[in-house]
Amino acid sequence: MAEDVKFKVSIDGIPVEVAPGTTILNAARRIGGDIVPPAMCYYSKLQGSGGKCRTCLVKVTKGSEKDPRPMPKLVASCRTTVMDGMEVQNITSPEVIEARKGVVEMLLINHPLDCPICDQAGECHLQDLGYEHGLADTRYEFERRTFDRIDIGDKVQLHMTRCILCYRCVFVADQLTTKRVHGVLGRGDAAEISTYIEKAIDNEFSGNVIDVCPVGALTDKTFRFKNRVWFTKPVEAHRDCPSCSGKVTLWYKGDEVLRVTARKDEYGEVEDFICNTCRFDKKATSDWVIEGPRQVKRTSVISLNHYENPNPPAVIKKNLALQEANKEQFERMKQLL
């Protein structure tokens, strides 16, 4: 078969051509925008991740050109590969929206909602997801599940109460580090991420579990309670590191580097995993070659204090003639996004 075979897929009516073997989620990311299903557990850099959180459920209304039957159930778009001629509904299907609302509610019923004291607030995927899809109120009236905080290693703290069991950190431990010492204990809603009898994770790449955690369950102990993320200023920098790519984001408050993280793309996935030396030990500007300010998505709360608002008012967005007239402003906005 020729290498350039492409499957024609449509997602919410928008056509896209992708290579065979691409998942629906990645096809949607090729299109971009609102039709990309949210993903809490899928992580493109981690093999085998996904399928667990069920937030990315979509409806396949036409299986393929050959077999046009729709799929009987909603499918996890992160683990379902496309077929030629497949038609997928995401935000255009009321069924999907309803199911997603249900999943968000389920994820939140045992979440402590302690955002005001959580270090992840502002860059938390669950926060964004809850804001976009959740209800303002909860129907859950029982005691929430709680766990004690444990230190796994001297730099990482695990607060299971906030965990949504996405298994990303388990995959990191499996695939990035040589000796896996943590995994899932227990089952059902008593399941917890843990290390074997609170053993420390002692590994050069263990800090990446912090970056992949979509919520505030795994936090950087060197940054805990230091500052809110939206008061810090992200700057891209690199250094010549013998063990990793050395490409990071430094989070400044004034002249001080409060924390170092890997660079994340628009879906919150890191571009390159970084080592613990870069993450925890190099916290002086002199350690780094500064590249420039990091461009943060406009919608993020992190950009709140850093950029002027070039976004045209909504009324212009809806009107085509006005859009034409404000073309320049739109271009500028795109560059900033």
């Binding site: 996904g50 399928g51 667990k52 959180c53 069920r54 937030t55 459920l57 159930k73 909603l74 996890a76 683990r79 199911a99 249900g102 999943v103 509610e105 389920m106 994820l107 019923i109 045992n110 129907r139 859950y140 029982f142 949504i164 069991l165 298994y167 995994g183 899932v184 227990g186 089952r187 059902g188 809603d189 008593a190 399941a191």
Partner: protein, 450 residues
């Protein structure tokens, strides 16, 4: 007297041992298959028999076998699912305890058909006596030359292993079973790929229920067509039913599919009627996972036909007025049983057994259990009933494996058919602690069906 195929010699003393089982015609199917049939012939016979999976889903076994991928140089596996842990179902345990050689013989025939040289019987961890019985039976069969290298001089090799599980209900789901068999945490895999393509150790694998595998023995002995003569329509052969609850004669019965439900409950050959001369309130026809049906709907379908013990007839009316044959755990409730309490009990089980991998099941089962506990103990509100329906809908169909559905269906069906009783628990919270609701007027089988 109905025909028996699996439990024919159940009353023979010493049928557990190889000698007696062999005297009674055991291992004829192995001889016939290995000496006169090709593996494809065996698959063909099973296809002709119309045998459907006895574990719950009812997928045609022959078709499942023909889906098995057969790439060159890659081993294939047959795994027997003996992780029977569905509340109300105890037929596999019974079969393994009393006629272990029926399973061993079926395993040899089925492995031969699939070209598997290594096969596993994954037994639920709590069944230690059955594990010992099976291990003894395997040793006996091996001594007699029915297992090991070059069986009966046919050139076919087979090693059979018994693997105790850790005692998790979820490991009865085929992909979780395979994970557990590989020594990992028993989390269901995300399908596709299906086990027929990539199963145990990433090799093509077939997972079958104990009873399905044992049923291949009479199919090979008498021929698939002969087997297909029993039963009606697409429900062929015999089925083991574990009858329990408020009946006079609880136990495991082998029935010919097509038996009317009414006869099964009331005839002296089977359940022998409701204990204590009470009236029938409800039946869970296929193990705790299937929808519960009130007396009027279990005896007759909504169309007014008599309901039969077949896959089709029990499912008649969909989930609005039907149920499923499932794994054959037939639980009978008399008029003094509390449906709310029972639903809470089932949900408590699913809450305990959810693996915790995907969010709707992990969080939803616990939530439903808490709400049902509240209603049962007299602190419920009307809104809780609607909440339960809504939560069950949010779980159903949105999970990786069928455990989510299995947890949602009993709740949804109990509220659908017994809403009065739930509402009575809300309005009469205190009274509900001291007495049961009894029969709903519309669910009395003596009343004509609307």
């Amino acid at each position: 007297m109905a025909r028996k195929l699996l439990l024919t010699h159940i009353d023979v003393p010493g049928i557990q041992t190889f000698e007696v089982y062999r005297q009674k015609g055991g291992y004829r199917a192995v001889e016939k298959a290995l000496k006169t049939l090709t593996p494809d012939d065996v698959v063909e016979e099973v296809k002709k028999s119309g045998l459907r999976g006895r574990g719950g889903a009812g997928f045609p076994t022959g078709m499942k076998w023909s889906f098995l991928a057969k790439p060159e140089g890659v081993p294939r596996y047959l795994v027997c699912n003996a992780d029977e842990s569905e509340p109300g179902t105890f037929k596999d345990r019974f079969l393994m305890t009393h006629i272990p050689h029926a399973l061993i013989e079926g395993m040899i025939v089925s492995s031969y058909a699939l070209g598997a040289n290594t096969s596993y019987i994954y037994v639920r961890g709590e069944m230690m006596p059955q594990i010992r019985i099976l291990e003894r039976a395997i040793a006996e069969a091996k001594n007699a030359g029915f297992l090991g290298k070059n069986i009966l001089g046919s050139g076919y090799d087979l090693e059979l292993y018994v693997q105790p599980g850790g005692g998790a209900y979820i490991c009865g789901e085929e992909t979780a079973l395979l994970e557990s068999l590989e020594g990992k945490r028993g989390n269901p895999r995300i399908k596709p790929p299906f086990p027929a393509v990539s199963g145990l150790y990433n090799c093509p694998t077939v997972v079958n229920n104990v009873e399905s595998i044992a049923a291949t023995v009479p199919i090979i002995n008498d021929g698939g067509e002969e087997y297909a003569k029993i039963g009606i329509e697409r429900s062929t052969g015999t089925k083991l039913i574990s009858a329990g609850g408020n009946i006079n004669k609880p136990g495991v019965y082998e029935i010919e599919l097509g038996l009317p439900v009414e006869e099964f409950i009331y005839s002296d050959e089977y359940c022998g009627g409701i204990a204590g001369g009470k009236r029938l309130k409800a039946v869970v026809a296929g193990g705790s996972s299937v929808p519960i049906l009130p007396a009027n709907l279990i005896l007759k379908t909504l169309k007014g036909d008599s309901r039969l013990m077949t896959y089709e007839s029990l499912a008649d009316g969909g989930f609005q007025s039907g149920t499923m044959l499932g794994s054959g755990g037939f639980i009978v409730f008399d008029e003094d049983q509390c449906i709310v309490r029972n639903t809470w009990n089932f949900t408590r089980f699913y809450h305990h057994e959810s693996c915790g991998q995907c969010s709707p099941c992990r969080e939803g089962t616990g939530w439903m259990e808490k709400v049902l506990h509240k209603i049962e103990h007299g602190h419920g509100a009307f809104s809780d009933i609607d909440l339960l329906v809504d939560v069950s809908k949010k779980i159903e169909g949105n999970t990786i494996c069928p455990l989510g559905d299995a947890a949602a269906w009993p709740v949804a069906s109990a509220i659908r058919h017994f809403r009065d009783e739930f509402e009575w628990h809300v309005t009469h919270g205190q009274e509900a602690q001291t007495r049961n609701y009894g029969l709903a007027h519309y669910a009395d089988p003596l009343e004509p069906v609307a």
